[in-house]
Symmetry: C2
Subunit: 391 residues, 2 copies
Amino acid sequence: MQNFSFYSPTYFSFGKDAENNAGTLVKRFGGTKVLIHYGGGSVVCSGLLDRVKQSLEKENIPYAELGGVKPNPRSGLVYEGIELCRKEHINFVLAVGGGSTIDSSKAIAAGAVYDGDFWDFYCGKPIEKSLGVGTVLTIAAAGSEGSSGSVITKEEGMLKRGAGGDAMLPKFGILNPALTQTLPAYQTACGIADIIAHLYERYLTNTPEVEVTDRLIEALMLTMIHEGPRVIADPDNYDARANIMWAGMMAHNNSCGVGRSQDWNSHQIEHELSALYDCAHGAGLAVTMPAVFRYVMKHDVMRFAQVAVRVWGCQMDFTHPEVTAKEGIERLRSFLISIGMPKNFAELGAKEEDIPKLADMACNVNGEDGKLYGFVTLNEEDCIKIYQAMV
Amino acid sequence: MQNFSFYSPTYFSFGKDAENNAGTLVKRFGGTKVLIHYGGGSVVCSGLLDRVKQSLEKENIPYAELGGVKPNPRSGLVYEGIELCRKEHINFVLAVGGGSTIDSSKAIAAGAVYDGDFWDFYCGKPIEKSLGVGTVLTIAAAGSEGSSGSVITKEEGMLKRGAGGDAMLPKFGILNPALTQTLPAYQTACGIADIIAHLYERYLTNTPEVEVTDRLIEALMLTMIHEGPRVIADPDNYDARANIMWAGMMAHNNSCGVGRSQDWNSHQIEHELSALYDCAHGAGLAVTMPAVFRYVMKHDVMRFAQVAVRVWGCQMDFTHPEVTAKEGIERLRSFLISIGMPKNFAELGAKEEDIPKLADMACNVNGEDGKLYGFVTLNEEDCIKIYQAMV
């Protein structure tokens, strides 16, 4: 096992009506003037935004508002939020929404106290301080509620990049599974795909002897396989929603990813798809993962066989482990299709003729030295082959 | 799933030589004058205490020292520590040792800023504030490095009681698996038994539909079953030590116990054994658990069958699930014996004639209304039968 540090100081309030604790929690974590940041639509229509406001008002905490966050959140709105925070002397950002809203809130909170362009953080500058961030989560997916990371897309060139650091860890997370019951099935499924991807990206390691984290990742995968179809079949199943919501947080606060090298090449390859076609990140991952895994499988057949047996219930073929390994990947693919995820470029809205451009962006714009470093090091040619396998 | 809150803000520095970060971490978490609290013997002889001191000196942090913590830590030393902290204007307690040292440190840190008898906290008074506590862990067992709890024994009457609350959560934990390599095999095995008990106490729930936490607990149990025998056979196996150490923390920071009723009756019943005979807590649990589980098994046969199949590798007997359930308990018992744990009263140093006294203490002194509330509610008569089954 590698040396590591682990820090997950976020306070979680989980369960029915938990959003009514927003005011108390903002107060507990030092917020005295709040920016409520959200997307729009459902958060407003469902009355959630009003309940959050009432909770703040009950604690006499003044607030400003900024809606309009879109999936694959943009830098333009972040700049707007930063200016608003400065103008209104805001010291706490409350995200009401999903991963995009939380990521946008983290960017605003870090940018508001930085004497420069917030985009610097997304080009590698360490984040030293930030306003406090709290979240009221409306979809189990990105895990941003418990992570130190944020992904923002810059409009010029549609560059999708990540930033992170302890200063970005949310102070609290309000997780009410009932809030996710009104999600369209497709979005629920995208969330499931995203959570499963966070688990695979950690599972694909080159570090030997990491049984504890292997087992924890497998536990969360098994949970998703059990609960995913239940929630798709019965969107009002609170318990299934609750299990998925906690799994989604645990999948990405890194408690099950410590002490081991991780992959993240599926994310790198997918990022170009959602940046270019504005498709849902989870849907992109559902198409990307099987293609990447088939391509890199030979690098460590026994690792893929292990997940096939322990998670996907395959019988081990001791004479031909590669058969078992491959079967596990096919079961993952079938599972993702069964919950309504796209299976290829066409269903995703991606175009074959863009493949050279996608591979170029993945390797030469977002990669390092023209390469993607992960479980297996991939170059532009590798990426072209992987994208082609998705067609 | 039940509503819950979860808070685990402890910063973990994990790996080889991590103890050299003690000074930096004390500084990061606001310590300016430190009490180093420890047991004795190995911490001193191994040079660990010196390395910790050097790390503090490097950051120019002055310190006082208080050694002498014993297993099942006593209130007498806590009073001494509190007085020392007040006299020396100490604002941070650094525990160098195992669960006993950490629990004693937590008691001192809370007591030092409380205008009254610290024992009040162990009689149910909420803990509102505390000095900061950091830990340098030397045995994977109690999980106190990531928990909000502390157990102290009061000399008068040998009362063993617990206290807890967010204020008791350690600021940081230094976990270097190499520090546990010099432990005698018996102590290592006691730690393994303790960790497994923390998992079973959470597994035995009456809350339905908690798949995610079931799976996470099973993951940690599987890790212990895999790594336990490896570390007993080869004490210098760093990776096996590392997997156990992280599992021990995760088993008790409650990330896998949220949203569900828990048991803790094995702990209640064991506490009287270690209080009366001063035996190792883990050894007491190894004898107690199988006896308790056999006694309560009929309350939820399918839960015991589930752990038997998923964790202990039993084949499910679909016609007679109770056969599978019982087989799982027997496999647990065999496992504990195989790593060197005692199997009965005699090996533990406990006496059959004390059973009425043990049951009386468990139910009427430490229980509520003469009962132990957990997975199954147990009265004095139940406890007598359980203790008798351990003979």
